[in-house]
Symmetry: C2
Subunit: 231 residues, 2 copies
């Protein structure tokens, strides 16, 4: 679904940081919870490794490819709406001019107060279309090259995140030995990730760290309990 | 991270639809791929059911709670930025007035052409703040009640989606018997889901259906192959 990227003066993270956060957030949490959960039911790490790798593959494809197609359809949506606005400012200029005035009216401006802007935009059809795209439809021009880079970044971050909780299971034969190492390593990784994420998104880093650890820990604890109860 | 919901005339889906799509999209795909993947390595459905339920629990908590906290921090971000804008329009009205003119200048308007709007906004501080939040910072006022409803909707859709591929494994003892039923049922569900999603998001429904089936099918096929190779 199209979403308007926000323009924010104090946001220090780029789109790449956003993609890394999206991928790593789920990559650290879900494979961690799955491995911890299975440790509650099975003591053979080979099955847990199989499940973990299958999950990492599935999750990274679902997130990466899903993100790629969503970005592509955002771009198509933008351009089809733009074509429509371009024909509307030519064919129905009166209606479009009233729509500009309506935007301003919602901020308490009278038609007389917004008229100079409406008139100025009417003289510049290209800027008028830009204005309508942004202020009436709330759509930003997407970067056509973003989709692929975004997909690869998200999928890569998911895979990198997923190998942190899975690591101990790759090297140890017994789940009961791997679990505590996986839990400690992943909780530390979640804390560092949450702290860094807070730093980039402008949220208080310490609170961000606590929240990230909490989500990951809760997901893993619930998965462990479910697996133990049903096995 | 805060994202501005877009205002779109032809978008027929509500925020609830968006949340259902987010949750069900991953809920149908990831547990499906995990179960299919494990079927490539293990023939006992009880282990696959354990892994599947652990994954559904982990995924729904990660998505639901993650979404809840993201919405909460969006709301906090909005209000802290709003407080700052409110003090800025009082303390540095000249700078803020120039920022309004800058917004219009990026659409080719001269300072003289945008002056009536700048003057009109200066007379109405509350509308001025509203205008700056939306047009300078690109932030929309969040609904404080949305976060919880959104979290429950996403998590519920993930769980509902996840039980479709897992269903056959719950009733059959052998993974080799459950897998084909799970694949057919889930691919049909993905097609229906993709078609419906297209209808709501404005994408061509048939193409949306094909894409959804493709992502789910590819994730499951890759997971199956990885599990088969390593086991």
């Amino acid at each position: 679904m199209p979403q308007t990227p926000h323009i924010e003066r104090h946001f220090t993270g780029s789109e790449t940081v956003r993609d890394l956060v999206i991928g790593m957030s789920d990559g650290l949490t879900v494979p961690f919870a799955l491995a911890a959960g299975l440790s509650g039911a099975i003591d053979t790490t080979s099955i847990i490794v199989t499940a973990g790798l299958a999950e990492i593959a599935a999750g990274s494809i679902a997130m990466g490819l899903g993100g790629y197609l969503a970005a592509k359809s955002d771009a198509e949506h933008y351009f089809s709406e733009r074509v429509r606005e371009e024909s509307e400012v030519v064919e129905k200029p009166e209606i479009e001019a009233r729509e500009v005035a309506d935007v301003f009216q919602s901020y308490g401006l009278t038609a007389a107060e917004s008229k100079p802007v409406v008139d100025a935009l009417r003289k510049r059809p290209q800027s008028w279309v830009d204005f309508m795209m942004r202020f009436e439809l709330g759509l930003e021009q997407p970067d056509p090259k973003r989709a692929l880079i975004s997909a690869i970044t998200i999928a890569g971050a998911y895979i990198a995140g997923g190998f942190i909780p899975l690591g101990p299971y790759l090297f140890l034969a017994k789940a009961s030995s791997a679990l505590p190492i996986s839990v400690i390593t992943t909780l530390v990784a979640l804390a560092i990730f949450g702290y860094t994420k807070g730093h980039f998104t402008g949220a208080p880093p310490l609170r961000s760290a606590i929240q990230t650890v909490l989500i990951g820990g809760l997901a893993a604890a619930v998965a462990f309990m479910i697996a133990r109860v049903i096995s």
